[in-house]
Symmetry: C2
Subunit: 173 residues, 2 copies
């Protein structure tokens, strides 16, 4: 993070995440990153290019976060890990994930595609556990975790924490 390009990326991430892409000006980003505004356009073609660089990084991070679930051999453990996911996110990364939730409605990106491997994993896990309709169980659990995650990012961990044990019990964990 000693590099100015990194500084820009970092400042933009925080600002986009907390205030949204359209509301944040390049001038504001430059000030926060303590660089000249022009530099932003040298490193990234334009404002949208800056956003895309951040998104790329974000998706990479999401992949890393999901990896332990995708590689989990035990079906019950895979489901457990997914349920616990939103409750164990580090607070320092909230703004990071908030950005993805915000952008899902602000710009068009196919979250469906990105989540496909996860849904598949959950689906085979439920299948291994003899659930009647594993794909649908996977979709529903995904919906629950998605909305719980949104709740945590909007209103804080404590707003959802009571659901943690309840969900684990619900899925017999």
């Amino acid at each position: 993070m000693t590099d100015k390009k990194e500084q820009i990326l970092h400042a933009a991430l925080e600002l986009f995440a907390s205030e949204g892409y359209h509301t944040v000006s390049t001038s504001k980003i430059a000030k926060k990153a303590v660089v000249s505004e022009g530099l932003i356009f040298r490193h990234f073609e334009n404002k949208k290019g800056l956003l895309e660089a951040i998104l790329e990084y974000a998706f990479e991070r999401m992949g890393i976060l999901l990896m332990p679930i995708l590689t989990e051999k035990s079906p019950i453990k895979a489901i457990e890990k997914y349920i616990l996911l939103p409750f164990e996110i580090d607070k320092s990364e909230y703004h990071f994930w908030r950005l993805l939730f915000k952008l899902k409605w602000e710009i068009e990106y196919s979250s469906v595609e990105k989540m496909k491997p996860l849904i598949d994993k959950l689906s085979t896990s439920f299948e291994a556990l003899n659930y009647k309709e594993p794909e649908k169980e996977a979709e529903v659990l995904n919906h629950i975790i998605e909305s719980v995650s949104g709740g945590i990012l909007k209103d804080g961990l404590q707003s959802q924490e009571i659901l943690k044990d309840f969900l684990l019990k619900k899925y017999h964990i």
Copy 2:
């Protein structure tokens, strides 16, 4: 909708819903409404005032939509009605609800408060049906429907329709 004020409201709703509050300019709204830009500021103090007028209307509409659930005597029917809600929304009103989903992340408004009566209703319904932890069941169902609704608004009805019967079965309806 013969009134120019109505025309502005209508145009702004459509534009905000499809493109977001911050991206849409007052000039664009004026063009779509076929009125002068200045008129917007006569009827509504400023752009934010216009948004608030729309939001007020939106919350009123949400109240109307939820009313049949809140007044439903049969607990099982109340739950059924709530599950069916996102699947039965008229396509012509999609942009309307999309606006609320978008704004939840774009500006700050307490969706939690607005949903309180619904959660309470679901909670007492689950209680009447002898569920062990009715409040939590209510929260989880609310999460499911919230995320399913989001899916429908983003990717269309058909993306979620397979879950309709599954959810009804899941809640023994």
